[in-house]
Symmetry: C2
Subunit: 412 residues, 2 copies
């Protein structure tokens, strides 16, 4: 084996609470395995094209910094949403990227991201093989949406689920405390355009001290607004407060998003994804009009993907593990692969890093199985809860400075 050269690592797509724990795992493992330099792309591949990068040894000076990085939400290096062109469409793009990689003496390229990022790994590794470049390309999974195929779950999901379940308990209490003669319906809106993992996680709020949400609607099941109204009407006759969780992406049977029923915005991002918002607002207005009771909407918005102050210990540790496992895999010769998390055991919960060919993964969205949703599509089953529960366990105490959680800052 010759002398090890350099690694470059980037972050892509929507941030999570623990994406930096994967970065920490890459850095620490790379150093331990004797790689020379570890570079960080700033704003992913988009920044790399502008030759924006840092030597991570100028950012991380101690084990304490690594611990702080693990507790820092959002992409420390900056993220991007950048779809690579097909190789035959724009060879100049690939020549430019590989010229930069050669200049930096890169041996391993690691990209932490979701479905779109795995597409990047696939294209770059294909190009390298076709053109005879020696770099290895590894993907590290990341997304609160938990919609990546072949991995048991994605880093970032557990912490988002923990934040959502915690907030759901608090919102249910808040609504219950205020509802006596005046009945209240609260609609909580969670992220997850096509996959209901986050919305379903509100069910974890059902504990010995909390009744949990009354209804849960995932985007996998067509949303029948008349049946929904009927259920709400029945429930609110029996209880002073009902709380309903909905995905931002629920659609009526003709395919329109619920948030579009009010003529809401239709912004489309660079990947052709529609930006959705206002589902809870729309339903709160609809129910107020139909039932005449007080309604309220709570949109968890970007809070759910950045609330590192209540991150899951299991999630932070797994995020670190998959970062390190990518370095190990590359060091052992793998390329065009994504690290995945395999669930080794349920009780006690145990997981380990595995590895998959990225060609099998990219752009397949993993949705909630129909059998994990009840018959009329208004709640998740115990199987769903048992799957998520191990992922929200344990805490990493934030490093509190002057009353607030401290984060690691990028120095330019």
């Amino acid at each position: 084996m010759g002398k090890k050269r350099n690694i470059i690592v980037g972050q892509s797509g929507g941030p999570t609470s623990v994406i930096n724990s994967s970065l920490a795992g890459v850095y620490k493992t790379a150093k331990e395995r004797g790689f020379h330099k570890v570079y960080g792309m700033l704003h992913g591949i988009e920044g790399l094209l502008d030759e924006m990068y840092v030597d991570l040894s100028t950012q991380i000076h101690s084990d304490m910094d690594i611990e702080l990085l693990k507790r820092t939400p959002s992409a420390f290096l900056g993220s991007c949403r950048y779809k690579l062109p097909d190789i035959h469409e724009n060879p100049a793009f690939y020549e430019k990227i590989f010229a930069i990689l050669d200049k930096l003496d890169i041996e391993v390229f690691i990209y932490i991201g979701g479905n779109d990022s795995m597409d990047t790994i696939k294209k770059l590794s294909d190009y390298a093989i076709v053109k005879g470049h020696g770099q290895k390309f590894l993907g590290v999974p990341k997304t609160i949406d938990n919609d990546l195929a072949l991995t048991d779950h994605t880093p970032g999901f557990g912490s988002a689920a923990k934040y959502i379940a915690t907030s759901t308990k608090e919102v249910i209490r808040d609504a219950m405390g205020l509802s006596y003669r005046r009945k209240t319906i609260t609609i909580m809106e969670c992220m997850g355009r096509n996959a209901g993992w986050l919305t379903g996680s509100t069910a974890l709020a059902k504990t010995e001290d909390c009744c949990g949400p009354d209804l849960i609607y995932l985007p996998e099941i067509p949303f029948d607004i008349e049946k929904f109204l009927k259920k709400c009407k029945e429930l609110i006759q029996k209880k002073p407060s009902i709380v309903i969780a909905v995905s931002e992406g629920i659609r009526v049977p003709d395919g329109r998003y619920v948030c579009q029923l009010s003529g809401g915005s239709d912004y489309v991002d660079a990947f052709g994804h529609k930006q959705l918002a206002g589902t809870a607002d729309y339903l709160a207005g609809f129910l107020a009009g139909e039932l005449g009771c007080k309604t309220r909407s709570v949109e968890l918005s970007t809070l759910q993907r950045s609330a590192s102050h209540v991150a899951s210990r299991v999630d932070i540790n797994e995020a670190f593990m998959v970062g390190g496992a990518a370095v190990k895999a590359a060091d052992e010769g793998d390329t065009g692969k994504m690290v995945v998390i395999d669930r080794v055991s349920d009780d006690p919960y145990m997981s380990a890093a595995g590895i998959y060919d990225v060609h099998k993964i990219a752009n397949n969205e993993k949705t909630v199985p129909r059998s994990w949703v009840n018959k009329d599509g208004s709640y998740v089953t115990q199987e769903f809860v048992s799957y998520v529960e191990p992922l929200i366990q344990g805490d990493y105490q934030p490093f509190m400075v002057n009353g607030l959680p401290q984060h690691l800052v990028l120095k330019r």
Copy 2:
């Protein structure tokens, strides 16, 4: 002194993260001072009228339960929004309340709440004096809005400010991580109809590791939408991401709420307060249209008043203190008074409970002084930050069970 009789305590108005710490303070101090029974009204005075109450010794069995109660958000006993009639308008109402108090052998009536609750204490104590009833009536302050006069600050505010500042740091990071070529404007909306204490607390996010919000708009200052647009335009030319905090209650110079500019809802509650929402949504849409960049709104909604998982230790302790101080004051013969928090010292921060005549307090809203907002009304000053900072210090670790914060449940 004769044998001590019973105490009844109720909770009223919008919940907070620490209103139950005041309840714990009332209970523990009442037991220590030898009161016989401590009753809790269910849903405040509204529930009491229906003779809904519990003996708190059936709910709190140990010091551990007291600690759990301190960590439980929203009104443990249930709250209400109930405006008492004037005495001359509805004497039957008062006769009914006092008949219930006599039946329960009540010596002390304690009400934990905001401005409207202090009005309740005033009316009940006036009636008792006029009619020769012996009960004593004490108010314990509570409101995240911090808009009560004569007290340095209100319990509940510090924890809400801590949650808001924590979330602001996280939202700023999230937005920054994603903004490179594609610029982003994020509008965060905080509660506080007429008082900008909560919105101003976003300034605490300005720390060594965070630039803080770029602009802050309080409801005390008329909102000039053209000047606002100009400022945003200048800022977004210089930075890839800007984050702006606005109060739900900002109004344009003609008096209309910003959220009404879009024809938003106009729901009016039992106290004649308008229910506001949609200010951030409106401004995000406005800026997207004017500046053509990506905009996003984050409404902190009821999360900001119920997020006990990140409550302030100073706040929980002070809430407990004012609950206990109300029992002490009543036990020493006070009535028609509200307990207040006096700031004894700034550095080091020290506070103590004081007591004020409730006639001086009720229905005077304390707003942010003009001198604590900068000249053009777009940020708070260092004086504002120095005032809030001591109130967000320290934590009470939640009791985590199965990955989630545990709360005390009312057993009926």
